[in-house]
Symmetry: C2
């Protein structure tokens, strides 16, 4: 009984799970709560020094007015409502995708549960996407786990990794600043948060010396077993250099740390000279012993990138060098939640496997990504070879065809180098995007 | 290092989270794994004593060939692909639902995150559904939490409830047999499973004497704080009587247990004489002190019922008498996962708020549920009043109109009673379904 004679609640702040109490999640914390109240007050006509609340607290592209990519939504609407397949409304390539995906669903319905790791066909498409991204380094559908957004997979992976009591409790190294999912998950799972600080002076770069410092101190009060890296950085936006990623992998190998690479912003790299390298690719390029030993889980999501489809809660995790017995445990654990939402799986598939040149939706899709196909070609050419040409769209061209203009003014020796580079790039480009 | 000179994995069976190792989930366990292998072998032409694997392991209606309800899918396709709103393809009431739902989405897109408890408008529709179901007992959108299927909400609720060490660890009473989500969640959270046995001799009835026995023994090794009830039973199919529910509520009150009521099969009650009573309704009908004290969380899902939309992962939880400070903690905890999938929220809304008489889709929707509207009326009339009449569809009637036939042969006194009952039922029926 409480002092006032009333019965205490069975579930109260005093009796509840103390780990949940420790969880903090600033992205949706008191500021957002207050913002929602202010919004309501404005709606009711209360006078404020502003007329609307602008929510810049969360990476939610559609809420900010970005329009969804038509092709993604066409394919998913066709999957939800197969009677649309008989209508002339949507392009044939969208219908083909939908038929292919429906054939892979139980009872040909997105309303059926999928296997817990996600629809096999979609995991195969994820594999092809990864192999393209990583320039041919192989992936395996058995190592792909589709998820309910990346948050779900991060939480599941950490759940597997947490054990021990007192000083033997699992320590998890996370960057500061970090996306607060990590600190929240660590609190919830009663693991030990080990902070390493990003270097603001050097654009929030990750420094292995700082990792070493953090690890050294952590050994006194926990057993550090996990290293979380967010690349490109959230909230810092920093893109790690290839050299930095190599150093981190070597450090994880030396110190026997399980690597978790949050790479959900991999398609949001804009700064000149910046390039995204996946941890998986660098790990394999380093070769043995790293490539055969370092355990890695990397995460991707459909909430970021050009699509920004947050509401669908789709994503995947790829695991590398994971103990097969633990993978069985992982499968069992995910099966308790049955499966990730199938509409999110479908959308992920289209992101992994977008319209190709020659397909009816290719042009509209490429333009929706913000670039005409020839502009995209020329920009990539410049980025990768230094060759500067002019896209045909600057001059006008027949719809559905693409050109570029180049001068032949350079001296012959230079022209030979140029043509060789151009031809190599052309082969690579068409392999990558077809 | 391992004995063979190879390095041990960082994450191995020996080092992983021991709670996850204890998790068992038979619904998708080794039998299913084996079934998938057999399926693959059959596909490759291997001879077996059977030609197809029939999966009866999981309640997955669509995988078994049940067709989705057209109206549900039309509304969600319109939400995914708003360009369909301008096409004459879908009925006007589906478009109205879609417009209403899109207006409630961030940036009018289902690709935006929703608030973590789910779109406010949909929670309001859930409230109306609950109030209709519970004959007017009030509900509150602030107590509704949309979820990624019911499993997600059950797990979240248990997570809040687990605390203590050793003998003070939270004990959770669950029925045996049970749907193994409960035992799996208890193992994962390192809570203590307390079994109470359902009585097979009495069609798997729940007996409060058995609850008392289980609780008495549990006090020796844990602190029992939660009582889970599954009604209608899974896997037993048993539907609890109103009296039984009253007894369980009184028991929870006496013993200070938090009640978790898994009611996901509430729309799957078929047996003659069986009727579903929600724990919420019975709790409020019992009145104080029960109705003001007993803490209750009840769960519902779009994976069961007439819709069987498992793949969308939609559902909700309603909490009653929960400490407001704990509700804040619950909101915080769910916010770490951002939000339940919005397509599942949309589908839930249509289930909560199906087509009404007079709307263009009403007839098709009612028939898809397996009953013409007049047949449904007559059956309900018989069930609730004992009055037997004949539905108009047995005779033929103009499309979109509904009739029933009754004779006036009974003696005048009986006819007066009959007409009074009929008129009362008519008022109730039209209130309930309009």
């Amino acid at each position: 009984m409480a002092e006032n004679g009333l019965r205490d609640k069975v579930l109260s702040l005093a009796s509840m799970n103390p780990c949940v109490k420790k969880v903090e999640y600033a992205v949706r914390g008191p500021i957002l709560t207050r913002a929602l109240v202010l919004e309501e007050e404005l709606k009711q006509g209360v006078k404020k020094p502003f007329t609307e609340v602008i929510k810049a607290n969360i990476g939610d592209a559609h809420a900010m007015g970005q329009r969804p990519i038509t092709f993604l939504r066409q394919v998913s609407a066709l999957c939800l409502c197969p009677e649309l397949l008989d209508e002339p409304l949507f392009p044939e390539d969208a219908k083909q995708r939908a038929r292919r995906l429906l054939a892979a669903c139980g009872g040909q319905s997105v309303g059926a549960y999928s296997v817990s790791s996600g629809i096999e066909l979609i995991r195969q498409d994820v594999v092809r996407y990864i192999e393209r991204r990583d320039r041919g380094i192989p992936a395996n559908p058995a190592n792909i786990y589709l998820s309910t957004g990346a948050s779900d997979a991060v939480m599941t992976m950490l759940k597997l990794l947490v054990s021990g009591e007192g000083r033997s409790r699992t320590g998890v190294l996370i960057p500061i600043p970090q996306y607060p999912l990590y600190s929240a998950a660590i609190a919830e799972l009663n693991a030990v948060q080990v902070n390493y600080y990003l270097d603001e002076e050097r654009c929030w770069a990750l420094d292995v010396g700082e990792l070493r410092r953090a690890l050294g101190q952590a050994h006194w009060h926990c057993q550090p077993r996990v290293l979380c890296v967010i690349n490109p950085g959230n909230p810092t936006g920093q893109v790690q250099s290839r050299k930095c990623i190599e150093d981190v992998i070597k450090f994880a190998w030396e110190e026997q740390l399980f690597l978790m690479a949050d790479e959900v912003y991999q398609d949001n790299v804009y700064a000149e000279g910046s390039e995204f390298h996946s941890f998986k690719k660098v790990l394999f390029e380093l070769g043995p012993p790293y490539s055969t030993v370092v355990e890695l889980a990397s995460f991707h999501s459909i909430s970021k990138g050009f699509m920004g489809e947050c509401g669908f809660r789709g994503g995947y995790m790829e695991v590398v060098n994971m103990d097969p017995a633990v993978q069985q445990q992982l499968s069992k654990l995910t099966s308790v939640r049955l499966c990730p939402p199938v509409p999110g799986q479908v959308l992920l598939d289209v992101v992994m496997n977008p319209p190709q040149p020659g397909e009816p939706s290719y042009k509209r899709f490429s333009q929706a990504r913000g670039l005409a196909p020839d502009m995209f070609f020329c920009l990539q050419l410049l980025e990768e070879t230094g060759i500067c040409v002019v896209p045909g769209s600057g001059f006008g061209q027949r719809e559905g065809t693409y050109h570029f203009r180049m001068t032949i003014l350079p001296p012959v020796e230079k022209l030979q180098i140029l043509l060789k580079k151009l031809s190599q790039f052309y082969v690579k480009f068409t392999q990558e995007y077809s």
